[in-house]
Structures are given as C-alpha cells and as structure tokens.
C-alpha cells in the first residue's frame, strides 16, 4: 500500500467514525432523555460515543495533514489549497474544534453546540466528497450555515417528539 492510499483510507475511516458517532450521539441522547434523566449506563454509552468522535477527529486531522504533505510534494499549489472547497473544509474543522471547547466549558447552549457539531461533520463529509462543485467560499459557508439551522430544527423536532411519546 502506498502512502497516498494509506492516508486517504485513514481520512475516510476518521470521517466515518466522526459522522457515525456524531449521529449515534444525537440519536442516543434523544432516546435517553425521554425519561428526563441520564443513568450511569446511559452516561457511559454517551461517553463512549464522545470518545469515538474525538478519535475520529484526531484521525481526520492527522490524515488530512498527510494528504496535504503529499500534495505539497507534488506541488499541487494554490489551485488545490486555496480552492473554495478546501478552505470551506478547513473552516468547518476549525468550527468543530471551537465548538468542542465551548461545549466542554459550557460556554455555549448544548443543544446549539450539538447541532453545530453534527452539521459540521456532515458538511465536512459533503465538501470532501463533492469535488465537482464550483461554488465560492461564501456560498459554501452559506450552505453550511443553512445546514446548521436545518440540523438544529430536525433535532428539536425529534426531541419534542421523544418527550411527547414518553
């Protein structure tokens, strides 16, 4: 296996872990919050999801730098690294890191934070896969912002439905 295949595989694995655990974290936290309290078992399950999510983020960051180094050695230059798609991905990852800090120190509403975190994982996935898009950086950021709002309201809908069907 060459380096390119290795780092790209790791990047995909990291993204899968991140998107998967972020989704599972939301689904399980909605399910567990039905009775209004989180017991020790439920807390442990959510903690495992958070740890997998953090592992995914670390793998994504390191493999992302690996891909960047390979691109640097091939001298891909500004066309690849100053492209709106690449810059949008970097912005999303930075938001993801910032929200992790803010949520950890309870400096942001947890519902808003979790919506931003989940939407960011999906945005990073879509921006990574959608290679043919020709949108500018600001359009991509607008789409990202829209995705955050949509995610927030979808999660709120399921939260309120979970409470009603208690």
């Amino acid at each position: 296996m060459d380096w390119s295949t290795f780092v790209r595989s790791m990047h995909i694995i990291g993204t899968a872990l991140g998107v998967g655990s972020a989704t599972l974290l939301e689904v399980l936290s909605i399910k567990f919050s039905k009775d209004g309290e989180v017991d020790i078992f439920e807390h442990d399950v959510l903690r495992i999801c958070i740890n997998v999510l953090r592992a995914g983020l670390i793998i994504v960051v390191f493999s992302g730098f690996g891909i960047m180094v390979l691109g640097r050695l091939r001298m891909l230059g500004p066309e690849a690294y100053f492209s709106p798609r690449f810059l949008a991905k970097m912005a999303v990852i930075l938001v993801l890191l910032l929200v992790a800090f803010l949520m950890n120190f309870r400096l942001i509403n947890l519902k808003v934070g979790s919506a931003i975190s989940t939407a960011s994982w999906y945005a990073a996935l879509v921006f990574g896969l959608w290679r043919t898009n020709k949108f500018s950086f600001f359009v991509l950021m607008g789409l990202y912002l829209g995705l955050i709002f949509v995610t927030y309201y979808i999660l709120e809908f399921f939260r309120s439905r979970a409470i009603k069907t208690k």
Partner: protein
C-alpha cells in the same frame, strides 16, 4: 527533495499537531477529578512535541526552504504568503516551546491548581493561548504549503 528533508517536513507537521492534541487533551480534561498526573503528562508531551517540531522545522527552514521553496512562492501568484505569513510564523513559532514549558512547570510544581478557581482559570487561559498560537501557526503553515505550486 531528499527523503531526509521529506522526513523532516513530515515530522515538523506531525509533532506540531501532536502538541496541539496534547494541549487540547489538557484543556478538555482539566476539570476531571484526580487527573493531575494526566495533566502533567499532557503538558510534558506537548512541550517535547513543540521542541522537536521546532528543531526539525528549523533545520528544514535553514537548509532547504530558503533556497528551494521561498523563490517559488515569491515568483508565484501569492508572494505575500512568504512576505507576511512566513515572516510572522517564524517569529510567533519561537514562543510555542516556551509557553508549553511554562505550562508544564506550572502544572508540575503548582499547588491546589484545581481548588483555587482563579488559579485554575489562569492555567486554562495559558493553555488556551498556547493552543490558539499553535493553531494560528498551523494555519499559516498550511497557507505556505498551499502557495508552493508548479
């Protein structure tokens, strides 16, 4: 570019990112109970990572970047990437091992660092500043790498 120089460049990026990961771990787990040993280890490994990233990055910069990479950037579309970002990075970068060292020493020898709220926020402030500087340096490094085109 020789394998030795590629290894230096990769090590520089890897160790710098590892330093950020250790300090992020320090920040995220600061308020957990009975984890002073963990915080000491995180701050120590972050300090080591930044020192080694500093050494290999410095060697790469002195022996290769100046004559092989800098002219490509200056003759390219984005010469300001070297003139502004690299010049800024190579100075801000100097602070990182010292900031990490202060955090390590303060964590290692500090007393009641978690009981005193004001003191604990000073530790978090120092760690957050170091992570922010490291992230800024990383973003600048990415922009510099991105400006090297054919």
């Amino acid at each position: 570019m020789s394998y030795f120089l590629i290894s230096l460049l990769v090590s520089h990026i890897f160790l710098g990112t590892l330093g950020i990961v250790f300090l992020t771990g320090y920040l995220l787990y600061f308020f957990r109970e009975d984890n002073l040993g963990f915080l000491k280890r995180m701050s120590f490994f972050a300090f080591l990572s930044f020192v080694f990233s500093w050494i290999v990055g410095g060697y790469y910069y002195v022996t290769y970047y100046g004559h092989a990479v800098k002219p490509i950037i200056l003759s390219g579309e984005f010469p300001w990437v070297h003139k502004v970002l690299m010049e800024t990075k190579e100075h801000i970068f100097l602070f990182l091992p010292f900031l990490a060292f202060v955090l390590f020493i303060a964590t290692y020898f500090g007393k009641n660092i978690k009981d005193d709220k004001k003191l604990s926020y000073s530790y978090i402030g120092l760690c957050f500043t170091t992570v922010s500087v490291a992230l800024l340096v990383t973003i600048m490094g990415m922009a510099i790498s991105g400006a090297v085109g054919k």
